[in-house]
Symmetry: C2
Amino acid sequence: MSAPAPGTQQAMRRRNLSLVLHALAAEDSLSRAAVATRIGLTRAGVSALVDELLRGGLIVELGPGRPGTVGRPGSALALNDQGPCGIGAEIGVDHLAVCVVDLRGAVRARIAVDAANRGRAPGPVLAELDGLLRKITARARREGLTPAGLGVAVPGLVDRDQCVVRAPNLGWRAVDVRQLLATSLPVTVDNEANVGALTELRETQWRDFVHVSAEIGIGAAVVVDGELLRGTHGFAGELGHVPVHPDGPDCACGGRGCLEQYAGEEAVLRACGIPPERAAREHPGPGGRIALLARRAQDGDAAVVTALDGAGTALGIALSGVVNLLDPQAVVLGGALAGLAPWVLPAVERELGTRLADRARTVRLAVSRTAGEGPLLGAAHRVVQSVLDDPAAVARL
Amino acid sequence: MSAPAPGTQQAMRRRNLSLVLHALAAEDSLSRAAVATRIGLTRAGVSALVDELLRGGLIVELGPGRPGTVGRPGSALALNDQGPCGIGAEIGVDHLAVCVVDLRGAVRARIAVDAANRGRAPGPVLAELDGLLRKITARARREGLTPAGLGVAVPGLVDRDQCVVRAPNLGWRAVDVRQLLATSLPVTVDNEANVGALTELRETQWRDFVHVSAEIGIGAAVVVDGELLRGTHGFAGELGHVPVHPDGPDCACGGRGCLEQYAGEEAVLRACGIPPERAAREHPGPGGRIALLARRAQDGDAAVVTALDGAGTALGIALSGVVNLLDPQAVVLGGALAGLAPWVLPAVERELGTRLADRARTVRLAVSRTAGEGPLLGAAHRVVQSVLDDPAAVARL
């Protein structure tokens, strides 16, 4: 019973401006005629839209010898790589990172620093992030880009008002990141698994998938028909608290035997006989503990190999429920799981194979190729996406 | 990255015709001016659309003394209750049913018969259904209605091509219902939990919910933002095969410890010490076994009360995973579960209460009020919905 948006001339124009941008985003460059064919509008209609977008600095003419200017109607058009851009930021338990992504989706700059954010108050963390943001926006401007907004990825539950309701591994509760940041840019805050999924959406052909993002905790993002499923309160994707063994160990969430109790970083370290506190001390920084586990597994450390197989088994059990419920095209393992895939994946495949019977053949199990940068890039890309979706909201068109 | 539909004049007109119908569906009647305000179009634009819809027989003028005719612009408009209608059909394990629903959503006729369909070949079942369909379409025509299509609800997996891939409790595999039915109407086939959810969508204010539909098996429908989540192959919602105790009893699906092994009808009967085959023989017909269980539970039969509590516990464990993953507004228990709610619900609430901690307060747990008719009515309503969504596809506009 979802009613379509009212078909006023004004709404139609904004929709069509966006259609032109999306057509150009899907290809490197297109002529006006090719754009018209692709989006099903007349040549004349497209020319008028293109003129507006050229004036607004959202696209450029690639005509030989006259880049960036209004050229012959026959010449190729492309998104402007010196126009609006998205700024991304990631608040990790072990690090802070910022980046710039242009309208074409290219990463133009990035800065990452180690930071011991566990248990650190929001104020100092966000003050440090503000410093990085000043640096990266200055760099963006030096590249001729105009920041259109900032997307922030956090390892926690973010509600519909973009407040960080709970980030257990930072120790944050009810933190309004937008209010605490000094930046004057429009800010959107999102869960890391969600923005990481936006990167997978760009990198893969899948439109219906589950993106599992494990760092210290285990989160997931559910993508349906190319869109994030956010849930009523914005809390969808709490895969880490799906019960695996309902009578298992108590979990901080109030439940018992949740996936995080078997496949979360602390559970795996414990299963390997490594006290998590010591590991955090001796192997700080992003990926430190993961590298340690991968090295030991590589060296054939039986305890580590067994622990990772156990994590994969638990993950496979939880995912078989998810696949039964959602029937996705694919499950993508990202974050720490990507780095530990050689030892985790076989058990996941084994569980899906026995529990889904004829269905296991139809769901793809893949490992993210974003090398842990999915959430950061996705946060920036979300800004770019919003420009492509409604350019009139950013540029004066 | 979902691109909006192209904004041609033709597409805009079809969208706007639908907007007018949806505005009238939301209210009993509206003046042209009220429609214009509601959908954000000009008075003149709405008048032209209304004239088309009046000529097409989709709406009527309620002007005093001149019902059903083109009247003064000031008089009230309503959907035509003598226009196109939807025919619904349900193929149950124990029964067959058909109904007629008009554009206003009113049920105008229904026929239901007991039928022992378990293990019966598709041919005879669908031949019997064809007989019922002839009767109900004749009745619809006598009421002055014009059937616009037929929706069929089946207790099984239906793929994107609307083929019944598997209906284990009928014993069907790869059955093309559309090809086997004699009706000349356009036919859509869907899983019973899915069409049942469409009825809940009409009856409740929820737009994000999970509809659990238990008969012999346990299915579910996931509704996101007012739309059914169908899954890549159309198989989403297989709640009955979410693992509850991963090392539990073998399930026909190939897995172990699936929800159906604890909360399916056969599992519950067995837990009560009632052989399922005998129960099926002695209590045939829709709801026969459910009535038996409800009666015994009412009489304080400890084995039955314990078995239903066990079913609720398993359901609560599976649902806590679902709520963590999807963050719905509500979970609606339909089908057999609705009839057994007094004995099943407390255990479900208990599990959600401990496993979701602060989240349990935010998700509503409700019992369907459709008295088992949700799938049948939803199947008919799906046809009505398609008329409201694109009237130009049905009437010559």
